[in-house]
Symmetry: none
Subunit: 245 residues, 2 copies
C-alpha cells in the first residue's frame, strides 16, 4: 500500500498545522483542509485514504459534512471533537463515522485510531480515488488537472514547473484560506515521501514569487496570490471546478 494520504480538516490554523505536522512526522501524507469545499477539492484532486474531520468548523458542521460525504462516497472518516459526551459520540457513529476522538487527545491514541481505521479500510478495499474533476477556473485562468496545463485569460499556454503546479493545486484547493508556509511545504512534499528536507529557509517564499511571476498580471502587486503578513499566503480568487464529461 502506498503512503496513506490523510485530510486534516480543522478550521483553526494552529491545530491544523500541529496535526498535519505530527501526522507527517509519523509517516503519513497529511493535507490540510478547513471546509467542506476544500475537502471536496482534495477528493477531486487525488486519492484520499482517511479524513480527520473536526466537528466544529466555524459555520459548518462536521457531523453533517460527514453524513453528506458518506452518502456519496466511501471515504473513512474519523470525527474529532471537543465534545466528548456520549450522545455526541453516538451522533457521530450514526452518520457513519469510523471512529470518534475527543480533543484534546493523546497523539499516540490518534495514531492508533488512524492505523486501525486504515487497516479496516484496506481490508475492505474501499479506497476512494478521484472523481472526474478535470478543470479549475479562476479569474479568467484555467488549470487542466489531467493535462497539467495552465491557460491564461488571453489563451496563452503557461508552463509551470512541478513545484509551481503543486503550489497552485494547494491554493486552488484552499481558496480564501490563509495557509502557513509550513502547511504549504507539507502539501508540496506529497510527491517525494521524504519527510525531512523541508522546513529550512525561504524556499516557499521564492516559490511563491516564481508562481506570481507566471500567473499574476503585475507580480509586484499580486491580486490572487496575496501575502498574509506574519502568517503565510492566501489565494484570493473564486475557484470553479468542472467535471470531465
Amino acid at each position: 500500500m502506498a503512503i496513506p494520504r490523510l485530510l486534516v480538516v480543522d478550521d483553526d490554523v494552529e491545530t491544523r498545522g500541529m496535526m498535519t505536522q505530527f501526522l507527517h512526522q509519523s509517516g503519513f501524507i497529511a493535507l490540510p483542509c478547513d471546509s467542506e469545499h476544500s475537502i471536496r477539492a482534495q477528493l477531486d484532486a487525488g486519492r484520499v485514504d482517511l479524513i480527520l474531520l473536526d466537528v466544529m468548523l466555524g459555520d459548518e458542521n462536521g457531523v453533517e459534512i460527514c453524513e453528506r460525504l458518506r452518502r456519496e462516497q466511501d471515504v473513512p472518516v474519523i470525527l474529532v471533537s471537543a465534545l466528548s459526551a456520549d450522545h455526541h459520540r453516538m451522533a457521530g457513529y450514526q452518520v457513519g463515522a469510523d471512529d470518534y476522538i475527543a480533543k484534546p487527545f493523546n497523539p499516540e491514541l490518534l495514531l492508533a485510531r488512524v492505523r486501525a481505521v486504515l487497516h479496516r479500510a484496506q481490508r475492505s478495499a474501499s479506497l476512494v480515488y478521484r472523481r472526474s474533476v478535470s478543470t479549475f477556473r479562476f479569474a479568467g485562468w484555467s488549470y487542466d488537472a489531467k493535462l497539467d496545463e495552465v491557460t491564461s485569460p488571453q489563451g496563452y499556454q503557461v508552463a509551470l514547473s512541478r513545484k509551481e503546479t503543486a503550489l497552485l493545486k494547494v491554493l486552488l484547493a484552499n481558496p480564501h484560506i490563509p495557509l502557513t508556509r509550513e502547511e504549504i511545504a507539507t502539501s508540496l512534499d506529497v510527491t517525494g515521501e521524504g519527510q525531512g528536507a523541508e522546513a529550512s529557509g525561504r524556499a516557499i517564499d521564492v516559490l511563491v514569487g516564481r508562481l506570481r511571476g507566471k500567473i499574476e498580471n503585475d507580480p509586484k502587486h499580486p491580486e490572487m496570490l496575496r501575502t498574509e503578513r506574519g502568517t503565510g499566503y492566501v489565494f484570493t480568487a473564486d475557484v470553479q471546478t468542472e467535471e470531465a464529461s
Copy 2:
C-alpha cells in the same frame, strides 16, 4: 451606572464557575448560562449589559447565536474561544461581536476588555463592523472595504498599510465619537493575534500621524482626524455607507 450585569455563557461547568466567580469578585454581577435558551431567558428576565459568549457550546455555535442576537437586539457581545486564528477572529467581528478573546486568557485582560466594551456601550458607541457594508464615503474620499482601497477626492489611489487601514476602519465605524487610545489599540489587534501586549508607548499617536499624512489635506491642521486632548481621537466627518448589492 448600576452594577453591570454580565452573562457568562459556557457549557463547561468549571469554566463557567471560575469566570462567574472571578467577575463577581471584580465587582460585576455575573449570571451563568449554558445555552441560547438560557441566554434568552435572562434577556427576558432583566437588564443585561454584556454577554461573554463561548464559541464552542456543545451542539450550539456561539458565532451563530451571536449573529441571531445581534439581529434582534443591541446587547454587547464578547466572543470567547479557544480558536485564536485570525479568520476566526474576523468571523466573530463580521457577525457583530464587540470583541473577541482567545482562551486561555489573562484574567486582567478579560477585565480590561469587559470594561472597554461596557465603556463603549455606555456611550452607545460600539465598534461593530456591519457585514454587508462595502463602501464608505466621507468628505469626498471613499474606502472600498472589499478591495481595501482608498480613493482621494481627486480620484487618486492612496496606498495605506495594514494598520493604517485598520485604524481608518475603526474611525469610519465610529464617526463623531471620541475613541481612547486603548479602544483603538484593541481594535487594531484584530490583525496581530497577540492579545497579550499592546498599549506600550505611543504607537497609536504615531499611527494617527501617519494616517493624517495620507488622508488630510494639511496634516498640520487635521480636519477629519482630530485630537481630543486628554482622551484620544475623533473622526469628525460624516460617513455614508453603501451596502453591497
